[in-house]
C-alpha cells in the first residue's frame, strides 16, 4: 500500500427508504471540516436503488462530489451488497479517510468493509481531528502529520481514547449520530456526480429478506427534540409517565427514557437515551427519576441545560446536572406543569 496514493475525505451517505438519514448530513458537515484542514474535498458515497435524486441534497449540505452506486440489489440494506459497494468504491477512488455512521447499519457495514480491504476501524467516535501521531514527539519514532485522530468513549463512557491508523488507508471511523453538526444548507449548490457500479452478483453471502416489519411509530425522533422530558425507573410505572407527557406537552418537548424503562417494557427502545440507545443534545434535558448510570450519562451529558429531579440525594445524575432538585417527582412534576401552564398563558 502506498499511502500517498490515498486522497480525499469520503463519507457514507446512509439512506433508508430513499430518505437521507440525519447522520449522512452530519458526516458531510464533519467531512467538510476535515477536508479543509487537509486541503482536499469531501465526497459523499450514496448507495441504494433509485437514489441519484438525493445527490443534490448532499451537495446543498456541503458535499463537493457524490459517488452514486445505484443497483436494484441495493434497495433494502443488506450487509454483503453494501460491503461490496463500499469496498469497490474504496479500491477504485482511494480515499485517505472514510467515515460511516455508528448506526445499526453502519456498525454492521463498517467492520465488514474494513476487514475486506484490510484497514483499521475506530468505533463510535465522538470527536475527529487532523493532527500528528504520535501526538508528542517520541525519540527514534517518526512523527507523522495530517493523521486522522479519532476520539471515542470506551468502557461505557468511563474512559476516553484517541486512536490513529498510521500505516493503513483509508483511516476508517464510525461516528455516533447526533454528535457532529451539519453545515448550513446552501440552496442550489451543486456537486460533481459520478455514477459507479462494480456489478452485483448474488452468492451465498447474500441473505434473503423474507419480510420488512416497520415499527409503527408516530413519535418524534428524540434526537431532534429541543426539550426532552426523560424518565427512569423512579417514575414507578408506565401509567405514571403521563405526568412526564403532560410536562413535555406544555413545553413543546418530547418524552424519552432510560434503559431500565425499556428493559421493564414500559417504553419502546426508540425512546432510549444512552450508550446502547441514542445520543441526544437538546436545549433542556429533564432527568426525572433517573439515577444516572454512566451509560445513560454518556448519551445526554452534552445537553445545554440538565435539570434532574430525584429523591435520592446521592444519585449520580446530580453530578452532571446543572440544576438538581432532591425531592418527590410525583409532587414536583405535576405542580411544575400547572405552574408552566399559568406562566405561558400569561404571556
Amino acid at each position: 500500500m502506498n499511502i500517498q496514493d490515498y486522497k480525499g475525505v469520503f463519507v457514507f451517505a446512509q439512506q433508508v427508504d430513499n430518505v437521507l438519514s440525519g447522520i449522512a448530513l452530519e458526516l458531510v458537515g464533519k467531512g467538510k471540516d476535515l477536508a479543509k484542514d487537509l486541503n482536499t474535498e469531501v465526497t459523499a458515497v450514496l448507495v441504494g436503488s433509485d437514489v441519484k435524486g438525493l445527490a443534490d441534497e448532499l451537495a446543498e449540505y456541503g458535499a463537493d462530489k457524490v459517488i452514486v452506486v445505484d443497483d436494484p440489489e441495493l434497495k433494502e440494506y443488506r450487509t454483503e451488497p453494501y460491503a461490496h459497494a463500499l469496498a469497490s468504491v474504496i479500491n477504485e477512488f482511494k480515499p485517505e479517510i472514510f467515515l460511516v455512521g455508528a448506526t445499526a447499519i453502519g456498525r454492521d457495514l463498517g467492520p465488514r468493509v474494513s476487514a475486506r480491504i484490510h484497514t483499521g476501524l475506530t468505533a463510535d467516535c465522538t470527536q475527529l481531528d487532523i493532527g500528528d501521531f504520535p501526538i508528542n514527539p517520541v525519540p527514534g519514532k517518526e512523527q507523522l502529520h495530517n493523521q486522522l485522530l479519532m476520539t471515542r468513549p470506551a468502557f461505557g463512557g468511563n474512559t476516553i481514547a484517541t486512536i490513529a491508523c498510521p500505516d493503513f488507508r483509508p483511516q476508517m471511523a464510525t461516528v455516533r449520530p447526533g454528535v457532529m453538526q451539519k453545515a448550513p444548507r446552501e440552496a442550489g449548490k451543486k456537486a460533481v456526480v459520478v455514477e459507479f457500479n462494480p456489478g452485483f452478483t448474488p452468492n451465498d453471502k447474500y441473505v434473503e429478506i423474507l419480510e420488512v416489519v416497520k415499527a409503527v411509530s408516530d413519535v418524534a425522533d428524540i434526537m431532534d427534540a429541543k426539550i426532552l422530558v426523560s424518565g427512569g425507573r423512579g417514575v414507578g410505572s408506565p401509567e405514571n409517565f403521563k405526568i412526564l407527557e403532560d410536562l413535555a406537552e406544555v413545553l413543546g418537548g418530547t418524552v424519552s427514557c432510560s434503559r431500565a424503562v425499556v428493559d421493564a417494557g414500559w417504553k419502546p427502545k426508540d425512546l432510549q437515551v444512552g450508550q446502547t440507545g441514542k445520543t441526544v443534545r437538546p436545549n433542556v434535558y429533564f432527568a426525572i427519576g433517573i439515577s444516572g448510570a454512566i451509560q445513560h450519562v454518556a448519551g445526554m451529558e452534552e445537553s445545554d441545560i440538565i435539570v434532574a429531579i430525584n429523591k435520592d440525594e446521592t444519585a449520580p445524575i446530580f453530578e452532571v446536572a446543572d440544576y438538581g432538585i432532591v425531592g418527590d417527582l410525583n409532587k414536583i412534576v405535576p405542580a411544575l406543569t400547572e405552574r408552566l401552564k399559568a406562566e405561558l398563558a400569561a404571556k
Binding site: V16, F155, G156, I163, K205, Y206, V207
Partner: protein
C-alpha cells in the same frame, strides 16, 4: 448441527471502574464476568441445542484466567471449551482479534457461529462481522430471534425503526443482543461437569491460515494515541426544597436561561 460461540471475559462495570495512575484501566483490580451480549449468544445456542440437537463449542481469546468463562459456559450446558492464549496475541485491536479467532475457528466444523453484538469494555461491535468476513460467510448482526429451517437460518434483525426477517444459508455468523433472551443459570450437574471438563488450550501455532503480520499489537492497524479518564463537566447546583419551592426554583432557572 455444530455451533461455535465466541465469548469474552470482561471487567464488571457494575462493581465500579478502577484506574491505574496513568489513566488506563486497572483490570486486575476489577471483578470479571462473561460479557452480557455473549452470554445471550450462548443462551441462544443452548436453546437451539435443546430444540434441534447441537454440539456447542465455546471459544475465548484472552489471558489464561479467561478459562473461567469457558467453565461457566460448560456449567450452563456448552459441550466443549477452547482457550486461545499466547503472549504474541496480546495488544490486539479488532482486526487482529478477529484474525486470531477466525484462525482458531478454521480448525473446527461449524454450521453456525454466534458472537455477542459487542463487549462492554470496548463497545466496538466489530469482531463478529470481521470474523465472518475472514471466513467468507454471511453475517447477520443484531439478532433478536433465531430459528433453523433445513440448511438455513431465519433471523429477525433489528434496526432503529424496523426489523428484517432474514434467511441465510449456513454456515453463517450471527451477533446477538443482550435483549435476545434471559440466559439460564448454571446447574449443579453442569457445575460438576465444568469442574471436571478438559479445556483445550491453543496458542499461535494452532491458528490456521493467519500471517504473523496480522496478530497481536504489531498486527493491529489502529494504535492508541492517548487514553484518559473522562473529564466531565461537573455538578451544578443541588437543592432540597419543598415541592412548591422546587417548582419556583425550576421556573426561575428556565426564565434565566430564556427557555420560557
Amino acid at each position: 448441527m455444530k455451533i461455535v460461540v465466541c465469548i469474552k471475559q470482561v471487567p464488571d462495570t457494575k462493581g465500579g471502574v478502577k484506574f491505574n495512575p496513568d489513566g488506563t484501566l486497572d483490570r486486575g483490580a476489577m471483578l470479571t464476568i462473561m460479557n452480557p451480549d455473549d452470554k445471550a449468544g450462548l443462551e441462544a445456542a443452548l436453546r437451539l441445542k435443546d430444540q434441534y440437537g447441537a454440539e456447542v463449542t465455546v471459544v475465548t481469546m484472552g489471558l489464561p484466567k479467561a478459562e473461567e468463562v469457558l467453565r461457566e459456559a460448560i456449567a450452563m450446558g456448552a459441550d466443549k471449551g477452547i482457550l486461545v492464549t499466547d503472549r504474541v496475541l496480546g495488544g490486539a485491536d479488532t482486526w487482529a482479534t478477529s484474525q486470531t479467532l477466525a484462525g482458531a475457528i478454521r480448525n473446527l466444523e461449524y454450521d453456525l457461529i454466534i458472537t455477542g453484538r459487542q463487549a462492554i469494555d470496548g463497545d466496538t461491535a466489530q469482531v463478529g462481522p470481521q470474523i465472518s468476513e475472514h471466513l467468507g460467510i454471511p453475517v447477520i448482526s443484531y439478532a433478536q430471534k433465531i430459528q433453523i429451517e433445513g440448511d438455513s437460518v431465519i433471523v429477525e434483525r433489528q434496526y432503529d425503526d424496523r426489523y428484517h426477517v432474514l434467511k441465510a444459508k449456513m454456515p453463517c455468523l450471527i451477533t446477538a443482543l443482550a435483549e435476545l433472551n434471559e440466559p439460564r443459570y448454571m446447574t449443579p450437574g453442569g457445575i460438576f461437569d465444568a469442574y471436571n471438563a478438559e479445556i483445550t488450550v491453543w496458542g499461535r501455532a494452532n491458528l490456521v491460515d493467519v500471517d504473523d503480520s496480522n496478530l497481536g499489537l504489531k498486527g493491529s492497524p489502529t494504535q492508541i494515541a492517548k487514553a484518559s479518564d473522562k473529564v466531565r463537566k461537573g455538578a451544578g447546583e443541588k437543592v432540597a426544597l419543598d415541592p412548591t419551592e422546587s417548582v419556583e426554583y425550576i421556573i426561575d432557572k428556565l426564565k434565566a436561561k430564556h427557555v420560557i
